[in-house]
Structures are given as structure tokens and as C-alpha cells.
Symmetry: C2
Subunit: 134 residues, 2 copies
Amino acid sequence: MMFESLKKELKKRNINLSYQRLKILEYLAQNQCHPTVDQIYTDIQKSIPTLSKTTVYNTLKKLVEEGLVRVINIEDTESRYDINIEDHGHFKCENCGNIFDFSINMDSLVCNGLDNFRIFDRHVYFKGICPQCS
Amino acid sequence: MMFESLKKELKKRNINLSYQRLKILEYLAQNQCHPTVDQIYTDIQKSIPTLSKTTVYNTLKKLVEEGLVRVINIEDTESRYDINIEDHGHFKCENCGNIFDFSINMDSLVCNGLDNFRIFDRHVYFKGICPQCS
DNA sequence: TATTAAATTGTAATAATTACAAACTTGTAA
DNA sequence: TTACAAGTTTGTAATTATTACAATTTAATA
């Protein structure tokens, strides 16, 4: 099986290398389009017919806890998942619904009022209309 | 009835001044703690016993469409509402669950990859541990 | 290869949100 | 001030996303 680097990431964190987990991670690595649980489940089910949606939820939860994957909550109706954990922003087009990545320099953002707050996670998202829909 | 300025905002946008809408707006103005639908519903129901949760949803939807209120989606399990539509960031404490406002200068954030994107809405939120919980 | 702990599965339960039609209000104009 | 049309509220039912849980299966290790 491929994706030795992903396996190493799991081993490093003492996460068992189950077939389902590897397939979900592989899927996220190959589909960096911020898929929903339903998209992940539906697509992987083609190669693992017995796959349960609960497993997708469990796996994503674990991957997020371990910092291998990030959740994107832009709409209240859907959580999306992103294997790219570098600082970057998300742009959601209100017309076509697509989510685009854009690069940001988080350190450039001037903030006030966070003295003595311990920050683990920083999210930036914009909404509007993408060039294709304009 | 008080809150003449809120009434004016509604009139300006041709939104009918129903009692429920005024009460919901008044509540949001007096409770800038980013309440959930359930909190809004439960609290206002004390003064309007016949209030329906559907009305709260309908009203919030309309207020958001008209730009009088913003939705905050930090957790996938709950949408929160904010009458403060100035640029500002939200910090969610992962221990106590409270959401804190902090000030940001959006123009200071260096972004790339958004040429020809029309931006309507910009959101910034951080997660971590607040000073009290540290 | 046997053992033990952990993961997967499927179903049922929960929670948030939306759809919808009947009853009720609001704004407007006579 | 009243009457009408358009818009709003209400309550219930439906939908959707997510979680709980127990039985079965699988992975890691000795």
C-alpha cells in the first residue's frame, strides 16, 4: 500500500493503521477540495462497500484531535475537512458554493484584546463571489 | 416602545416592524454574548409565551440577509448570532466555551490568491484557552 | 498464532433546521 | 377609522447531521 508518509504520521501518534483510516487519509490527501463527511463516505464506499458512516465520523474526529486534519465550519449546515494544516484562508463563493484556498500571513494581522489568551488555532474565511461566477 | 434606532434600521430596509422582530433585535442589542437560537428563543419566550422557534429562525435569517446581524459558525453544532457587524474577531475558549470579541484591523492582513474575487464578508476566529481557564 | 485492546459496523437516538398550511398582523389607502 | 392585500407567526411534521451503543471484527504484539 502507498502513502508511507501518512502511515508514519499515524504511527508517530500511536493511531492504529486500520484499512479504513488509511483510506480516509489517502482520500483527504488526494481530494484537497474540502469534502464533507457525506462526500468522503460516498466516494470511499465505492472501494469499501461495508464502510459505515460512523467510522468516517470517528476517524475524522480522531484525526482532528491529533492535529492531522482541520475542520472548516463556514456554513452551519456542513462541516468540511482539510488535510492542509498550514495557515491559509478559505473563500466560499456564495453562488457556486466552491471553497477556494488563499494564502495568508497570519502574523501580519493586527489584533488587540488577546493578552493572556493561549491560541491553538487560527481560522480566516471570506465569503463573496468567485471570478468564474462574476 | 424603545429602540427607535433599530426600528429605523428595519424601516430603511422595508422589513415589517412586527413585535417578534423588534423583541429579537432588542434582545440581540442587549445580549452581545453571541447567543444561540435556543438561548434567544428560551429567553424571549418568557415575555412572549406564544413565540415559535420557527419565528426566531425566520427572523434571524432575514436579519442576516439584510446585513443587520452576522452568523458565527465556530462549532458545527451551533450557530451563534452577533448584532455587532463591525470587523472584529472571535475567540472561543475550548475549556469554558465562552466566546470573546477581540479587535482586528482587517486591512493589515496580507492575503494572496484573491485577485478578481468579490469579497462581501470576512471572518476571523481563534480557538484556545482564555485567561480565566489558564 | 493466540491474546487483548481497539476499531468497525449498523441501528437507534438526538439535535438542529426547514417545510408548510392555517391563523393572525401589519401597512396602506380609501 | 376601517378594510384589504400582503406579509408574518405559529405548530406540527419532515429532514438532515451527528452521536450513542453493543455486537462483531480487526490490528498489534508477544
